[in-house]
């Protein structure tokens, strides 16, 4: 066992040996080593987060045919550090009428809810973090704390825009949680486990996006809504709500919301990769070294993040009634239909040859999606006719 094949265990055993040498209790040494490991991972994540600020600004600039930050350092790479310094030396104002404790707690909980998501991310075959057997639901549980932090921020600011933004954001987050929960069950059905690492291992010959392309798509849509990004960025509502739930926040407290949002998007890119694109797997390359596996995972997460940004900077914002109608009248029924179809095909073809199983799964997905689109199309057509039918006599009257 050497460092390149299992760095985490080698480092942990080495450190525990040192701490034991200092006369420390074995349990205490273990706890301390876990603490240091988690601290290291989170510091790396925060460094990545700083880099994400640059990525986000550079990518949006490209989408909008601009250059983006390009003055500080090569390709503007120093820009995010300047941003951080700016955030730190700005005054932290607290509105006089705000509920001070809740107001200050909200950005902390918001950041925390994103960071703990990484507790269940398997970075490499031997670096599992937490091998929790309820990993899939843990994502939703962490999201629940994030939802809570938003409603806390919106309420505590004692600002009408913050309140409206917070309420809308929470309504959207909880609504889209249903399709997300349902789509989380699809990898669970295929792999027979809620453990993230088992889900990755089960995508051995066929990644789940091949088996369930529609599931991957619905999960992405629900994730975008959960992140509160365009076309679902109602809380921000730049033009009408002036930034929504975080309107009263300044300095580093605002920075926590902002950094949390970027890291959240990147993390969900990672979860998309883990659940449907094989996580750290890439044609056996992940077996070479855990470090390579981490790079593969980060690359796939970046791709997912890029898709989320692509959607954000391409789509226009939709209204809250349209968004909730889209979720409850289209996405939720479709998600449940897809879940049941997947379960049915999975049970009927359990003993069929692999190629036939895969092909049937793809066809079942495409068929479900096609039926759903046809129903939606005819429903919107009749809706339009209903509205226009009402209009016509009015015009004739005038």
């Amino acid at each position: 066992m050497n460092f390149w094949n299992d760095p985490l265990r080698v480092a942990a055993e080495w450190l525990e040996g040192i701490f034991a040498g200092w006369g420390m209790d074995a349990v205490a040494a273990h706890v301390l080593v876990v603490f240091l490991g988690v601290l290291l991972l989170i510091i790396v994540l925060m460094a990545l987060d700083v880099f994400l600020v640059w990525v986000e600004r550079k990518v949006v600039a490209r989408f909008q045919d601009r250059l983006g930050p390009n003055r500080l350092g090569p390709f503007g790479l120093i820009q995010p550090f300047a941003d951080i310094i700016k955030l730190i030396i700005k005054e932290d104002t607290t509105p006089g009428d705000a509920d001070k404790v809740v107001y200050n707690l909200a950005p902390i909980l918001s950041m925390m809810s994103v960071l703990i998501l990484w507790a269940v991310v398997p970075l490499a075959p031997v670096m599992l973090g937490t091998d929790l057997n309820v990993g899939a639901l843990f994502i939703i549980a962490a999201g629940a704390i994030g939802t809570l932090s938003i409603i806390m921020a919106g309420w505590a600011s004692n600002n009408k825009f913050a309140m409206i933004g917070g309420f809308r954001q929470v309504a959207v987050m909880v609504s889209f949680e249903i399709p997300m929960l349902t789509m989380l069950m699809i990898p669970v059905i295929f792999s027979g486990s809620m453990n993230m690492n088992v889900i990755i291992q089960a995508q051995d010959p066929v990644p789940f996006w091949v088996l369930s392309p529609l599931g991957a798509l619905i999960f992405l849509i629900a994730a975008i809504a959960e992140l509160g990004r365009a076309p679902f960025d109602l809380a921000e509502g730049e033009s009408e709500l002036v930034s929504g739930f975080n309107i009263e926040y300044s300095g580093m407290k605002f920075g926590m919301f902002y950094a949390g949002e970027l890291l959240h998007a990147f993390t969900f890119g990672g979860f998309w990769a883990i659940l449907f694109f094989g996580g750290y797997r890439f044609f056996g390359l992940e077996q070479v070294s855990p470090f390579l596996a981490i790079l593969i995972l980060i690359f796939k997460a970046m791709l997912g993040y890029w898709v989320i940004m692509w959607v954000k900077y391409t789509m226009m914002r939709i209204r809250i009634d349209q968004m909730l109608a889209f979720n409850w009248k289209f996405l939720t029924p479709l998600a449940f239909a897809l879940l049941l179809v997947t379960a049915l095909v999975n049970a009927l073809l359990a003993s069929a040859p692999a190629w036939f199983y895969t092909l049937s799964m793809i066809l079942a997905n495409l068929f479900t999606g096609w039926i759903a689109l046809e129903i939606a199309r005819s429903a919107t057509r009749s809706e339009r006719e209903r509205i226009e039918g009402v209009k016509k006599p009015v015009e004739a009257h005038h």
């Binding site: 349990v27 057997n133 843990f138 939703i140 549980a141 629940a144 409603i151 929470v170 909880v174």
Partner: protein
């Protein structure tokens, strides 16, 4: 005392203090937030008992859904979110007496039980708690009927909620 017991006592204290704050704080939104921390404490207790699924479900359902529902409900029922009336009525001593008696009864009952003082043991390796739960939920000789009845119960809850919310509005629409 083991580390697990110390953690349990700490969490239990946290949960109890939060629970007391729920009923004593005068701000209704604060009460809802204290309720969240109480429910989180209960989730930690489940985790200490190795009940991973229940612990996560506690956070998903109680903090993610019920707490949000409470906060929404608080905001749409009251114009003024501050409770100004007296917090006790003249029968407070009867409530305290019933609570004390219930607590004493529970303690005396639980002391007879041999499992009361045991700490949760780790599952043997390969023990598939989630799989067993899934199997039991749909197995005809286990819990399939409660499983389906749960769905009917949820349906009743939904229909009831919609009915209650719908009725005053139908009066409005006739105007």
């Amino acid at each position: 005392m083991t580390a697990q017991q110390i953690i349990f006592l700490f969490v239990a204290l946290f949960t109890l203090i939060s629970a007391v704050m729920v009923v004593t704080t005068r701000n209704l939104v604060h009460a809802a937030l204290w309720l969240v921390s109480t429910l989180f404490g209960v989730a930690v207790v489940y985790a200490l008992l190795n009940a991973n699924f229940i612990a996560v479900v506690q956070v998903v359902v109680y903090i993610g859904a019920i707490a949000i529902l409470f906060i929404f409900a608080v905001m749409l029922t009251r114009r003024d979110m501050r409770d100004t009336g007296p917090q006790m009525n003249k029968n407070w001593w009867a409530g305290a007496l019933v609570a004390a008696l219930t607590f004493a009864g529970l303690v005396s009952l639980l002391q007879e039980w041999s499992g009361f003082s045991k700490t949760a043991s780790d599952f043997p390796s390969g023990f598939d708690a989630m799989g067993l739960l899934g199997e039991a939920l749909v197995s005809p000789d286990a819990y399939v009927l409660p499983f389906e009845v749960a769905s009917v119960l949820l349906l009743a809850a939904l229909v009831g909620a919609v009915y209650v919310a719908f009725n005053p509005r139908s009066g409005d629409s006739q105007k």
